[in-house]
């Protein structure tokens, strides 16, 4: 075993993505749900960079760069929303913040 097969990276990415999905589904705190989304984005980034290596082209890295930037913007807005929710409702439990639900 000299080198790592690229597929391992992709499998790792898949596992992380699945974990992100699990967190997204099972966690009840808005902030943790949000973090699970970040985890999914990260796992996708890993695939991008891995494919970029495979294809010997940087485009994949550029995409992951864009993902990061979008994630940062998303985090700023998302956390502001969370702050507002907490201010108005006094809780971060996702099933207590369901006034939009019928």
């Amino acid at each position: 075993m000299g080198h790592v097969p690229l597929s391992w990276y992709l499998v790792l990415s898949a596992i992380l993505f699945a974990l992100g999905v699990a967190g997204f589904v099972y966690r009840k705190s808005v902030i943790t749900v949000f973090m699970s989304i970040e985890l999914m984005l990260n796992s996708v980034n890993l695939s991008f960079v891995a494919f970029s290596y495979q294809l010997q082209r940087i485009d994949g890295q550029i995409y992951s760069f864009f993902v990061m930037v979008v994630a940062a913007a998303e985090a700023a807005v998302g956390l502001a929303i969370i702050l507002t929710i907490f201010k108005n409702r006094g809780t971060l439990q996702i099933d207590e913040v369901d006034s939009m639900k019928l």
Partner: protein, 167 residues
């Protein structure tokens, strides 16, 4: 040799931290786990020759996004999660479905994709700041500009949302 060891260490750290993120009850533990995932991913990026992306990962994700998360958690002093009723579907079928999902993906990667190469540390360094910058300001100039506008909008939105006189 060294990159195999590094990959295995980082992969284990990433997966353990990922599990921790899902399983921990306290948001700050989850946030810390996520930082762990991100740091190990940064090392993996380095192994894949993406120096710039690795550093950006640490600066943007580790230094900005996650600091914001931690800051907000501390500010709100968000306590541990309360266990609440989950939907019966998720409880019964969730884990098997996820396992199936990972399995299918793994099968796709191993079997369906054309054979992939191996990763040798240092064999291809395409991701230096120079390369990324070159591409970013030529081919991807338009997306770059759009995304900077997006960031501006996000900043404004965050400021508006987090203002004190929210109501």
């Amino acid at each position: 040799m060294i990159d195999t060891v590094l990959f295995i260490i980082c992969a284990i750290v990433a997966v353990v931290c990922g599990f921790n993120l899902v399983l921990q009850k306290h948001p700050i533990s989850s946030a810390l786990s996520l930082i762990g995932v991100m740091s190990s991913l940064a090392v993996l990026y380095l192994l894949l020759g993406a120096e710039f992306i690795a550093m950006t990962q640490m600066i943007v994700y580790g230094g900005a996004v996650m600091v914001l998360f931690v800051f907000v958690i501390m500010l709100l002093n968000a306590g541990s999660e309360k266990a609440s009723s989950k939907s019966w579907f998720a409880q019964i079928a969730g884990v098997p479905l996820l396992l199936a999902f990972v399995g299918i993906l793994a099968f796709l990667i191993r079997g369906v994709l054309p054979p992939l190469g191996t990763v040798a540390f240092g064999s291809w360094v395409g991701g230096t700041a120079e390369h990324v910058g070159q591409l970013l300001f030529t081919t991807y100039l338009l997306p770059f500009e759009i995304i900077s506008v997006l960031i501006l909008i996000a900043i404004l939105g965050a400021v508006v949302l987090a203002r004190k006189e929210i109501d």
